[in-house]
Amino acid sequence: MRMQWRSTGVKYGAIMQTNLQNQLAYLWDAMGRAVFILLIMYIFAQLWTAVYETRQTPDIAGLTLANTIWYFLLAEVVELGKFRHDQAISDEVKDGSIAYTLVRPYNYLAYHFANGLGETAVKMFLVFVLGAPVALHFAGLPTVNVAHLPLVALVMGLGLLVDFCIASMIGLMAFVMEDTFSLRLIYQKLIFILGGLLIPVDFLPDWLQRIARVLPFNLTTYAPAKLFVAFSWAQFWQILLLQMVWLAILGLLLWAQYRWATQRLAVNGG
């Protein structure tokens, strides 16, 4: 049993490493894509500086301007770095190549997870490295307690898992829809507002905050970004509990959808 776990770990580790090497081999290409963070951070810094100036207040909902700017950097690190495998799944379903990938000696979804992990690590690192100077310029050093960083990393990891489940479900919807483009677009935009990417959840009207805080969208971007700039134990435990609950729900739904989809798959010819 232990041997089996070990060989499984080695297998998916190798998949992750391969993609990581692939990303590092085309580092300039990956950096070119990450450059967008410079632009978006500049715009966010201008917008929120104007807001704080207009309101003439040192903080909004407990966040100072510096907190807010660093919050957006972390939120963008997750958003621009996270898995993009839903398009790959959708394409494989549409062109039929999923028939070949399903018979390979690995779990299809676990493969996409391990494969995406290597890419995500590189992308998140690059986005942070490129965006940090902009945040430093406009906000100075963040007020972060280093002891909290592993906990923020844990929340970020679990948030990525939540996102992985949702993105996989969108990709697998290609079994029933010709194009999952619109679903992806809508999910992305839900992250923008309910996930706190364009505006921190704390800044939303109370009624919308109550809704946003129980939905899974805030668990990927808002949760790690907020804990990074303003860590509180109460919020940490609350987020962790919600992440566990949503992971159980989404994991179950994904498993059911995956089973249904693979049973529905008909392969003709060779």
């Binding site: 715009i43 010709e178 619109s182 992305q188």
Partner: protein, 265 residues
């Protein structure tokens, strides 16, 4: 004049073929349009929440956002619904040596290439632009006329700029991502109040990255009903298209055929 008429007839036929081809997959056609409409709607919701929570920012209010979104999305819709083979797609065609198919045909090369693809989702932008305009409450015939003209000019600006970014592939090789980034940049800057930007950033928005001529200036044209500003906007579009055409045809001299087997149906 006769040649212009012939080109327009050809472009109309090309668009009709693209549209029927896109409508072949009916469900995908509808979901893409609805998806884009909702996508824009969520941005709209963001600004509604933003102004509701924080009030006007540097002179920009929700009414300005209604007009900004109406012009930018209608312009984007008009531009890329018909000419989607610009920007990153154009860069890809050039880098892959896939212009051969167009080069042997007796039509205006640039127009033929960029009008050969339709972006279905932009119909959602187009519809959204019209709906967003309803929120502005500007129903005087002159306002409506200025809105339509400004949006068409914004669309021309979008496509003209995309011709420049796509043509960079002639000089840089694989400029697909660069082109995509530049298109994203101009779109992003367009959809934010331009009063946020000053100094060098503001200068760039009126020159190298002409987002001001897609959002801020057309908004002012409608708000102030200024003929002079409209003429200025028209002039900027002519300049961008002049540069785009020059960059494309000068770059074409450097074009190398990809010898790829290319079938266009």
């Amino acid at each position: 004049m006769k040649q212009l008429k012939a080109e327009l007839t050809f472009l109309r036929a090309l668009t009709a073929v693209n549209l029927s081809s896109a409508m072949e997959y009916r469900a995908s056609f509808i979901t893409q349009i609805v998806g884009m409409f909702i996508n824009n709607g969520i941005y709209f919701v963001f600004w509604l929440i933003f102004f509701n929570q924080f009030g006007a920012v540097r002179g920009y209010e929700m009414d300005d956002i209604y007009l900004l979104f109406a012009i930018a999305t209608l312009g984007y819709g008009i531009g890329f619904m018909f000419a989607a083979n610009s920007g990153a797609n154009l860069a890809y065609l050039i880098a892959q040596g896939r212009l051969d198919y167009y080069l042997v045909l007796p039509r205006n090369l640039l127009l033929h290439v960029i009008f050969s693809r339709m972006s279905v989702s932009t119909i959602g932008d187009l519809a959204f632009g019209v709906v967003a305009y309803m929120f502005t409450g500007r129903f005087h015939p002159l306002d409506i006329l200025l809105f339509v003209v400004s949006s068409v000019l914004a669309g021309l600006m979008f496509v003209g700029f995309s011709v420049i970014t796509g043509s960079l592939a002639f000089y840089l090789g694989n400029a697909r991502y660069l082109s995509q980034q530049l298109t994203n940049a101009i779109l992003t800057f367009t959809l934010y109040p331009n009063t946020l930007f000053s100094g060098l950033a503001r200068f760039l928005l009126f020159t190298l990255l002409p987002a001001a001529f897609i959002g801020a200036v057309p908004v002012q044209v409608v708000k102030t009903r200024s003929g002079l500003l409209l003429a200025g906007l028209f002039g900027a579009v002519v300049v961008v298209w002049g540069v785009g055409t020059a960059v494309f045809y000068l770059g074409l001299r450097r074009y190398e055929s990809g010898s790829a087997l290319n079938i266009n149906i």
